[in-house]
């Protein structure tokens, strides 16, 4: 029925009401509607957005997508003796590479590789434009000349480490298949260089990654993992595997993931820092996404070890292991429970106090997703002492950290019991929260206003509203909320207005209720048109 419908006051109409047979909804249906309205945990807990737009610079903490094999002459023993004194210019290289004599080919290829390996300004563009790639790809297949294979693979590795176009040039010359075949080469150096090249190709993006996967690279790569190979080789394999796990839209296929996971579990037990780092990165990519993907990772049993690695002093281990666990707690309540059982909540308080703000932020993000769970999870969160460091971050953290901390509090407030809310308030959350109302971010401000509103409602239930209102006023909240009524974002303004109207209109306590002022009415009228309801859901994007 339209809200505007008005019945006439005339007695005539009053007597001619048609008779209807009303029924009520089944009780359980209504119950759902009331109790869980907008509070579904899955609504509040979301993964990183599928396509996340960034205005910022790419993060410095992330893992490298492509790597060039840089070297200086002295650390190049494999070819040192053979190449002593040979230095060719580009034209000589072109001629040499196109010659039919394998020795000339080798010398030219090696010269090209050296140019491509120098520390500064490697001439990737020149080499590509010189049209050398098809020949280099051909050399990969010359199994009679492993040294040539090695040099060609290395050169191609470094070309593929360049721009997307340069990687594309390598792929389009058909390099993937011969490189995969080289994974079975009896010569370990050749084999290792092929691993590296494939890593660079897969790192370019989902398209080339899937080309590498569909060329059946994974079984060969996995077969290379053994305790007898040199550590540098193992590192390369791990890194390439991580690139095969990386990137979305689409994610790597389920089958590939399933093949890699047992080996990743195995690598996670390793002692080497780099192997651990790249394994954790791989797991962080695999755990990014829907609950099914998270389930695959959780079922491997990696959580206890991951939580252990979260205490690592190495940033390159801590960052990806924390990221992985953070991803996992975006999953179902059960998956989160497994993470809690593995001890994540014992580690997070320390990480909230980590000297690096990027770590604080990821930790707060993970915590926010635990807080989005059922109240039992919230209880554990309290029991593990996460509230004091959380409040400290709200107070003194960097803005990006404060933002995550605010989300945590918001989720806590939405899903927590009254008792838990009391503990939250007692932990001193209100003052820093109120101070953040001046932050230049309308979303965060709206969330804080919603939190304040929820806390006031809880206080109302406990008949503590008056004290709560005073507390908020004391810490300067009322002034700030009043000022927000003039915010240019209509939702911020409306939320602020509602709090003032519902909780801070003077007088109730001493027996007078003030009349609503005319302009408020008109203002509200204008605002309600744009109002989209309270914020309860949480878009959990990449922290």
């Amino acid at each position: 029925m339209s809200q505007r419908a008005r019945a006439s006051l005339s007695p005539a109409l009053w007597l001619t009401v048609p008779v209807n047979m009303p029924t009520l909804d089944a009780p359980e249906e209504r119950l759902r509607k009331f109790k869980y309205r907008g509070k579904d945990a899955s609504m509040r807990r979301q993964q990183r957005m599928a396509v996340s737009l960034e205005l910022r610079k790419a993060k410095k903490d992330e893992q490298a997508l492509k790597r060039r094999n840089i070297t200086n002459v002295s650390s190049d023993p494999a070819s040192e003796q053979l190449t002593k004194g040979v230095s060719l210019n580009l034209q000589e290289i072109i001629n040499g590479v196109n010659a039919s004599d394998p020795d000339l080919c080798f010398q030219a290829t090696q010269a090209a590789r050296k140019m491509l390996s120098r520390e500064r300004n490697p001439p990737l563009k020149l080499i590509v434009e010189a049209g050398l790639i098809p020949r280099l790809v051909e050399f990969l297949k010359s199994s009679l000349h492993p040294c040539l294979q090695f040099e060609a693979a290395w050169a191609l590795t470094n070309i593929a480490s360049g721009t997307s176009e340069q990687t594309q040039a390598v792929v389009e010359s058909g390099a993937i298949q011969p490189l995969v075949e080289l994974l079975s080469s009896p010569h370990m150096t050749v084999c290792e260089q092929a691993v590296w090249a494939l890593g660079n190709i897969a790192g370019d993006g989902p398209e080339f990654r899937d080309l590498v996967i569909s060329s059946n690279a994974i079984p060969h790569l996995l077969a290379l993992v053994s305790s007898t190979i040199p550590i540098t080789f193992l590192r390369n394999i791990t890194w390439t595997l991580s690139n095969l796990c990386r990137n979305k839209s689409p994610y790597p296929c389920k089958k590939a993931v399933k093949q890699m996971l047992p080996v990743l579990f195995h690598l996670l037990q390793h002692e080497d820092g780099e192997v651990l780092s790249d394994t954790c990165w791989a797991l962080s990519y695999l755990s990014d996404g829907c609950n099914e993907r998270i389930g695959q990772v959780v079922d491997t049993g990696v959580l206890p070890r991951l939580v252990q690695l979260m205490t690592s002093s190495e940033l390159n281990i801590l960052t990806p292991s924390l990221r992985t666990v953070g991803n996992i707690v975006t999953g179902t309540d059960h998956q989160t429970q497994v993470a809690i059982d593995a001890g994540i909540l014992n580690v997070l308080p320390q990480l909230l106090m980590h000297p690096r703000s990027s770590i604080q932020k990821e930790a707060a993000w993970a915590l926010s997703n635990v807080a989005a769970g059922p109240c039992q999870h919230i209880q554990q969160l309290i029991a593990c002492g996460t509230l004091p460091p959380l409040v400290a971050l709200l107070k003194n953290g960097e803005f990006k950290v404060q933002k995550e901390a605010v989300w945590t509090v918001a989720n806590f407030t939405t899903g927590g019991t009254i008792d838990q809310l009391i503990q939250l308030v007692h932990s001193g959350v209100l003052e820093p929260l109120v101070n953040l109302l001046t932050i230049q971010d309308p979303k965060i401000v709206t969330i804080i206003l919603d939190v304040i509103s929820l806390i006031l409602k809880a206080a109302e239930k406990l008949s503590e509203k008056e004290n709560m209102c005073l507390l908020i006023e004391e810490i300067g909240g009322v002034d700030k909320i009043e000022a927000l009524q003039l915010h240019e974002n209509p939702q911020v303004a409306l939320t602020a207005l509602n709090i003032i109207e519902n909780h801070f209109c003077e007088g109730e306590e001493n027996g007078t209720i003030l009349p609503a002022l005319d302009q408020d009415c008109e203002y509200l009228n204008h605002l309600t048109k744009n109002y989209q309801g309270p914020t309860t859901s949480k878009p959990r994007t990449t922290p």
């Binding site: 008779v19 009520l24 009780p27 309205r37 703000s357 911020v492």
Partner: protein, 924 residues
């Protein structure tokens, strides 16, 4: 239909545009109508654009540009399901020409076109207007700053929404696109403009244009950097911040203005740069850290060298706020901790900005309402004093001891200055009091004043030595600012100053009600009001009626006299103090009631001519209610005296339809009627038919008061209504029907219905009962809300008690099968308590309100006792349901159990069994 782009059409259009400027509405209106009637035609906007470009007549040019902008505003947006109001060809043509046109037009027209571009941009940019950015950016190279400023202004109006919109994929895609096309050219323009500023350092007019550009560029910087720190600006932070820093320290005599009020270009630019620096400091701390110390120094030097003129206010308060936000962050603590730094901030930044300036003095005397609002109610967010206060609090976070120490020295020296020559140096004392106040108050609320004070300041000592002497001086009109300061001191430190001192100050405050200065007597009234609301132990008021008794007469006299002082005839603080005094003094005021009620009715009569102060009016009605209650509590018969005094004014208010007052009048009448112990007086019955007039019920503000009044009528006069006004019963039910149709007012409808059921003789409503239920069921089916169901349940219970379960059963039999209702009833009982307000219910009253209406304001002292018609009869509704069902089954044995078992679902059945067991009954 298309209009030709012909000279003839241009001529016609010119004629009509000319007519729209005619002062005579008989000529103007038809012309406006005509233009609106043809604006749907193709080429109409192009004709306007042609005119604004080529017309010989400047007036027509401007008129065409305004008409064009309004046309765009009305028509450009394509609303779903509505026809496209501008044809595609015109849209394309407009977009192709408008930027060029704007940039080549004189300023007056440029502004209109720039607005039009923003409106179009809001709809079409970026997808449907891909060239816009390139076109704008290309103009940067023109070197013509008239053109460049036009582009910058347009860009600002397009981009400024980035400052307040929520992050979304759509928004960020747009920002990314803008950054890609705009960030580099903007940066180059910024650098080039700054270079030009030094080239033209001696050319005032060139500088003015260049600085306008710099202001716009700085504003664009803020918009583009608001959502997140873009990669481009991170890479180019050096360029931007170095230049911002230079600009902050720059001064040029040619740019200084003589105007004392209006901020000049330099001030505006520096103020925006402070905002930009604050944005970076707040959001991008990690990246900005290395620039921050330089900005702190620059901004602080800026503060030290900036004068007291009003034109610098925004700049100064922005700059101080920047320092305040930085100094409370732990990792910048070191920038402030040096004793010399602290001293110099206190001395050169805080103290000067706390001084009472000429402008404040002016406001104190001539614009006291504004002054009070700023000083008392905290609407001083942008003032220098407030900013200085915030900086004190910020510094106290880490340096409370040193800061208090430094300021104590200042306070003492300022008080000494004052003592030397009060009439010349009174401002020093004002600043001293202000300093003490801002230093001492750590937390403050309206209700309790200061709740946490700095322990380093001895508030009582200061009160006794420096505040009381001023208030004790015989002349209440001497040094009004200091008087106001002293009274305010009492107000805000009322929780810190011991009661005996407060008691001493009460007669002093009463005395100051006579002060001529509006601020002083208002503060005195407000302070008394606040003191009278203070609570002591056991939650009783801190001051008892007995303690105030010695001053009753002088208090009441002075309060009412204050209402006759110039400028205070509708002073809400005084009226509130009157109300509060009544409430505190209770019986002690009875001897004065005849005079008081006369004065109040006179006031009521006077303000009802033109009600303009809602708070004042509200407290006045509260005071009237209090007079009635206090008097009639002791002597109920006195109600007649009040009716005599008030009804004349009330009649006038009702007859003149003074909308603001009608809800109050009804509430006071309810109170009077309820005070009567016997049957309803005939004077009330004469009013009864008028209360049912639909027009009264159209105003939502009237509804609660009218319902309350009708309830009073039903309570006191149900028999009279049944016998003498039975023909009005359908009208009464009509009101009920109207009310329950609205989600906002349905509970009011139930109040009325419940009163009807409870008080009216059953036979008088018999014939309507079935329709009542049908209406309720209809509403239940069509738009059911939690509130409605709760009210419905209460009603069902009341009905059962009044008429018996059998009667309820009969009604149900007549309308619908029983069991779904029974099941629903059980469902309702077992529903978890729902205390959330569903979104759709939250704002109904506003949605329901067509246009402006007076809101209802409940009078607390007209208050009605909670009425429970059921009382002890039904303690437990579940048991009551079981018992009622039992009764029903006794009446028609065998039917109920079978109905129950076949129609209820298992869960409901189980609950019902529980109720039956608890009530120890069985269904027969």
């Amino acid at each position: 239909m298309a209009m030709e782009l012909s000279d003839a059409n241009l001529q016609t259009l010119t004629e009509y545009l000319k007519k729209t400027l005619d002062p005579d509405p008989a000529i103007r209106r038809p012309a406006e109508k005509f233009l609106e009637s043809v604006e749907g035609n193709q080429n109409y906007p192009l004709l306007l654009l042609t005119l604004l470009e080529k017309s010989q007549d400047n007036v027509i040019k401007v008129c065409a540009s305004v008409t064009f902008k309004n046309y765009i505003k009305r028509n450009w947006r394509i609303v779903e399901d509505e026809p496209n109001k501008i044809c595609e060809a015109d849209r394309v043509a407009i977009k192709a020409n408008i930027v060029h046109l704007m940039l080549s037009s004189p300023e007056q027209i440029q502004k209109q076109l720039s607005d039009a571009i923003s409106i179009i941009g809001r709809e079409d940019f970026p997808q449907k207007w891909p060239d816009l950015l390139t076109e704008m950016v290309n103009r940067f190279q023109s070197g013509d700053f008239h053109v460049i400023n036009g582009v910058l202004r347009t860009a600002h109006s397009l981009f400024k929404r980035y400052r307040h919109e929520f992050k979304s994929n759509e928004l960020w895609t747009e920002i990314k696109l803008v950054l890609d096309a705009f960030a580099l050219p903007l940066t180059n323009l910024f650098k080039a403009t700054i270079e030009l500023c030094s080239t033209h350092a001696n050319d005032a007019s060139a500088l003015r244009i260049l600085f306008s550009s710099l202001i716009l560029i700085s504003k664009l910087f803020y918009s583009l950097n608001f959502q997140d720190l873009p990669e481009f600006f991170e890479d180019n932070m050096e360029t931007w911040m170095n230049n911002f820093h230079t600009l902050l320290t720059l001064d040029n005599k040619l740019l200084q203005t003589d105007d004392e009020e209006e901020a000049g270009l330099l001030e505006l630019l520096k103020s925006q740069i402070c905002d930009n620096a604050a944005l970076y400091a707040q959001k991008y701390d990690e990246e900005f850290q290395r620039y921050l110390p330089r900005f702190v120094t620059a901004i602080w030097n800026l503060l030290v060298t900036t004068g007291q003129e009003v034109k610098y206010d925004l700049l100064v308060s922005n700059a101080i706020q920047f320092l305040a936000s930085v100094c409370e962050r732990p990792h910048y603590k070191n920038l402030f901790e040096d004793q010399n730094t602290l001293t110099s901030i206190c001395e050169k930044v805080i103290v000067p900005n706390m001084e009472f300036r000429a402008a404040d003095e002016e406001a104190f005397e001539d614009n006291s309402e504004e002054y009070i609002r700023r000083d008392l109610e905290g609407s001083d967010i942008d003032t220098r004093r407030r900013a200085a206060c915030d900086l004190v609090r910020g510094l106290c976070k880490f340096f409370e001891g040193p800061v208090t120490g430094i300021f104590s020295g200042y306070v003492n020296s300022m008080l000494q200055e004052y003592a030397k020559n009060p009439s010349v140096n009174w401002k020093h004392k004002d600043a001293a009091i202000y300093l003490v106040t801002s230093l001492a108050s750590k937390a403050q609320t309206q209700k309790h004043g200061i709740t946490q004070a700095n322990e380093l300041v001895n508030l009582t000592e200061f009160f006794v030595n420096h505040i009381l002497p001023d208030l004790k001086s015989a002349n209440v009109n001497e040094f009004p600012v200091l008087k106001a300061d002293g009274i305010k001191y009492i107000m805000i430190f009322r929780n810190q100053v011991p009661k005996e001192h407060l008691l001493v100050s009460i007669p002093l405050l009463i005395n100051h009600l006579q002060a001529e200065s509006i601020v002083v007597h208002t503060y005195a009234a407000h302070a008394l009001e606040r003191l009278f609301t203070m609570r002591g132990p056991n939650n009783a008021t801190l001051f008892t009626a007995a303690e105030i008794a010695p001053f009753v007469e002088i208090l009441l006299t002075n309060l009412f006299k204050a209402l006759t002082l110039p400028g205070s005839s509708e002073n809400e603080y005084i009226m509130k103090a009157i109300m509060r005094s009544f409430s505190l003094l209770q019986e002690a005021i009875i001897p004065y009631i005849p005079t008081l009620i006369t004065q109040l009715t006179q006031k009521l009569l006077a303000v009802s001519k033109n009600p303009s102060k809602p708070h004042f009016n509200h407290y006045m009605f509260e005071a009237i209610c209090l007079s009635i209650r206090i008097t009639c509590k002791a002597n109920p018969a006195a109600v007649v005296n009040f009716e005599e005094a008030l009804f004349l004014v009330f009649t006038e208010i009702l007859q003149n339809d003074v909308q603001e007052f009608i809800p109050y009048v009804f509430q006071v009448m309810s109170l009077l009627l309820e005070t009567h112990k016997n049957d309803i007086p005939s004077s009330y019955m004469a009013l009864f038919p008028h209360l049912l007039q639909p027009v009264l019920w159209e105003r939502t503000g009237n509804i609660p008061a009218l319902v309350r009044l009708l309830q009073a009528f039903l309570e006191r006069g149900s028999n009279t209504i049944a016998s003498a006004a039975a023909d009005k019963i359908p009208g009464l039910l009509g009101v009920f029907q109207k009310l329950i149709a609205s989600k906002a007012n349905d509970h009011q409808g139930f109040y009325l219905l419940n009163s009807i059921i409870e008080h009216m003789p059953p036979e008088s409503v018999d014939q309507y009962r079935k329709q009542i239920f049908i209406l309720l069921f209809q509403r239940l089916q069509n738009s059911k809300t939690t509130k409605f169901i709760k009210s419905f349940l209460v009603f069902i219970n009341l009905y059962c008690i009044k008429y018996g379960a059998l009667a309820l059963q009969e009604i149900f039999d007549g309308i619908q099968p029983k069991t779904p209702l029974l099941q629903s009833l059980i469902g309702l009982f077992e529903l978890p308590e729902d205390d959330t307000i569903p979104d759709e219910e939250h704002f109904i009253d506003i949605e329901d309100t067509p246009g402006y209406q007076t809101a209802f304001s409940q009078l607390a002292f007209a208050g009605k006792k909670e009425h429970d018609p059921v009382g002890q009869m039904v303690n437990n509704p579940k048991i009551h349901l079981a018992q009622s069902l039992h009764k029903l089954s006794t009446a028609c044995p065998g039917r109920v159990p079978s109905m129950v078992s076949t129609s209820l679902n298992a869960e409901a059945l189980q609950y019902l069994q529980g109720y039956l067991q608890a009530a120890s009954v069985t269904l027969l």
